[in-house]
Amino acid sequence: MAAPRTIAALDGRPAAQHARPAPRRRRSSQWTALAFLAPLVVYLLLFYAYPLYRNIELSLHDYTPRAFVRGDAEFTGPENYLDVLSDDTFVRALRNTALFTLVSIAAQYALGLALAVFFHRGFRLSVVLRAMFLVPWLLPLIVSASTWSWMLNSDNGIVNAALEAFGVGQINWLTSPDTSLIAVTIANIWLGIPFNLVILYAGLQNIPAELYEAAGLDGANAWQRFRRITFPLLRPVSAITLLLGLIYTLKVVDIIWIMTRGGPADASTTLAIWSYREAFGTGQPDFSPAAAVGNLLIVIAFAAGLVHVHLRREEGRP
């Protein structure tokens, strides 16, 4: 029963009830409560509130390297946001982000679920195989991204070598504007499957076996059992998996950066890549537009979170 509890914790449901303190001791126990709270509050302020505040502040000023050192950046209000929104790169980056994120999480979820159902049957060697599916998760990203870019190399890549054996001509996976987004999406799907597999597998453990037995007695075939039992009962777990997948995928920088640097000609530039490139990818850091793009990403992720909460609440109603 360990797995379902993990899921509940991920859902973020408040857990415990507090015992009401006796009036005589209320004040001192309030102090105690505050004292216990203090480390967390300090931590949150220091590592969440302050960076967020700083990011917003960066995006509202014009921070050139000179202004950054001297601390006299000019206040420009929403100008950075307007610049970002009116930039040609924005539309392309937004489109790429949408394609990259949606295709990634859809494919990761579908493949993760298929594998979870497959392993749920518990055959011989299933544990070993399942462990091997976790490898992409364990490898350092620099290793997996470099390996992918080697495999997809136009001239010496193993993928093209295999395709050529079947008579397909050279595909410039990483160096053609038509295919570079596809290439990084494939790599990212591969990376995300273990995460989906683990969570969905844990969710499957939580579905009572009696339901399947009952369905079997009623003559439901495998597909009907999946369609009518597994899928509906997995909905809460699926929702949180998709939400976390969305948030992870929105902010992916490393794998794209290592494989294509967002190129060629911005073909694989997502919003996260664009933000990173403005801040660290050129000889001259442009922190302000980078922060503006970063904040837009936070807003998108936040909106997705709200949709999730809303859907959960709808579901909770009878």
Binding site: W31, R66, R70, N172, G263, G281
Partner: protein, 418 residues
């Protein structure tokens, strides 16, 4: 008044202590370096590959001892170094000496972080003008080159011999193209270079760009288009592999070392590796379009001196800088780094006396040109970004060379205008 239970008091106390400790320790390491460590001089450089026991670290320490101080050296990765330097500048706790990649010098100088060499009386006239130009901004010099490197064409002698190409015949683009075609006809891969979408891509493109007679102030000139068309035709006709679009200089070099390629555009830093290759190698200067040697961009680090509150420190810093740049010192640095070409005429004489084989590289460095020269200064990084984007667009087929450069010029103009 309020009687707290013992555990409660303990928790409050512990929290307070922790918070205090966090507040107290956070700013301290940087906050007052200048006063706290008067005996130690801080030194940052971008050579993490040279650890504390390396010849380079020993060389830095020796110069510190000569100046009567200990040097605390910290090494960062090149890009991290610029960011660290900006942060340190913001907090007012910059180190005494930073070795900066040369295009970054004008950025930090413009931020007011660096002391001009003339402010503490260091004579800069002995340095080669074309090399020190990258450290100049508005008539002042903000750093001195500890050495220089640049680009040339390495060749695989075996492939050229088999294809019947005499490297000496390569005098201009036409003769180079002739040679490349012969290699292709002989069934080998003609050339590789790095056209990656970073500063490295611009660095590699500049010899062809300048060699055609183009200027960084006008990216869409007919000469610039000719240069990009040259690269474009190489990729289109299979003279160069398609992967150059995403290859860094290191990857290109690895490709060359496989022995499949006749030519590779690469830098001084590969001299040792070329000697160890499994085939005989040599270099030719990158030709200009109409003949002669194309100006290649200079690479290499500058010693810069960030502004300090305590101006007394500059006296010692000056001694350290002088120690690093004596002719013998430059030769030592040059050989430690396998290879850096000394940045003064005396130093170049001295290294040639030791290693005559470096002659073509010394010549290449003498005709090289700083990327931030022509007073481009802090505009260079923006122009460079537009340029490498254009190269990427043209080679990947997203736009024709002329269109890509027209867009690049508009992009650069807009970026500089801000």
């Amino acid at each position: 008044m309020n009687r707290r239970s013992l555990p409660a008091r303990a928790v409050v106390f512990a929290t307070a202590a922790l918070t205090l400790a966090a507040c107290a320790s956070a700013p301290a390491p940087g906050g007052d370096t200048a006063t706290a460590t008067s005996g130690a001089y801080t030194w940052w450089d971008p050579y993490p590959q040279h650890d504390a026991s390396s010849a380079w670290a020993e060389r830095v320490n020796a110069c510190g001892r000569q100046a009567g101080v200990t040097i605390e050296r910290t090494a960062y990765d090149t890009t991290a170094l610029t960011n660290q330097a900006l942060l340190a500048g913001q907090e007012g706790n910059a180190p005494d000496v930073i070795l900066l990649d040369n295009p970054a010098v004008s950025t930090l100088a413009d931020a007011g972080m660096l002391t001009a060499m003339s402010d503490f009386g260091l004579d800069t006239s002995r340095f080669d003008e074309n090399l020190i130009a990258a450290g100049e901004l508005d008539g002042k010099t903000y750093g001195i080159p500890i050495g220089a490197n640049t680009l040339a064409l390495y060749y695989n002698k075996k492939i050229l011999d088999d294809a019947g190409v005499d490297p000496g015949s390569i005098k201009d683009w036409a003769s180079l193209n002739e040679a490349l075609k012969k290699v292709k006809a002989a069934g080998k891969k003609p050339i590789t270079f790095a056209a990656i979408g970073t500063e490295e891509g611009s660095f590699q493109f500049l010899p062809w760009f300048w060699g055609a007679g183009a200027q960084l102030t006008r990216l869409d000139s007919p000469q610039a288009v000719e240069a990009l068309e040259l690269w474009h035709s190489w990729v289109k006709d299979g003279i160069a592999p398609n992967s150059v679009i995403s290859n860094s200089q290191n990857t290109t070099w690895e490709e060359f070392l496989t022995g499949e390629f006749a030519f590779a555009e690469n830098g001084t830093w590969q001299i040792n590796s070329a000697e160890k290759a499994g085939f005989p190698t040599g270099i030719v200067q990158i030709p200009a379009k109409g003949g002669g040697v194309a100006p290649t961009p200079t690479g290499g680090e500058f010693i810069t001196v960030p502004v300090q509150k305590d101006t007394q420190r500059y006296n010692t810093t000056k001694k350290i800088l002088e120690c690093m740049t004596t002719p013998e010192g430059l030769v030592e640095t040059g050989t430690t780094f396998a290879y850096y070409i000394p940045s003064t005429a005396d130093g170049q004489q001295a290294i040639l006396a030791k290693e005559a084989g470096l002659k073509p590289w010394v010549d290449a460095v003498r005709t090289a040109k700083g990327r931030t020269s022509d007073n481009l200064g802090t505009d260079y990084p923006k122009i460079s970004e537009a340029l490498w984007t254009a190269v990427q667009k043209a080679l990947s087929g997203a736009a024709s060379p002329a269109d890509a450069l027209r867009e690049a010029q508009a992009q650069a103009k807009q970026a500089i205008g801000n």
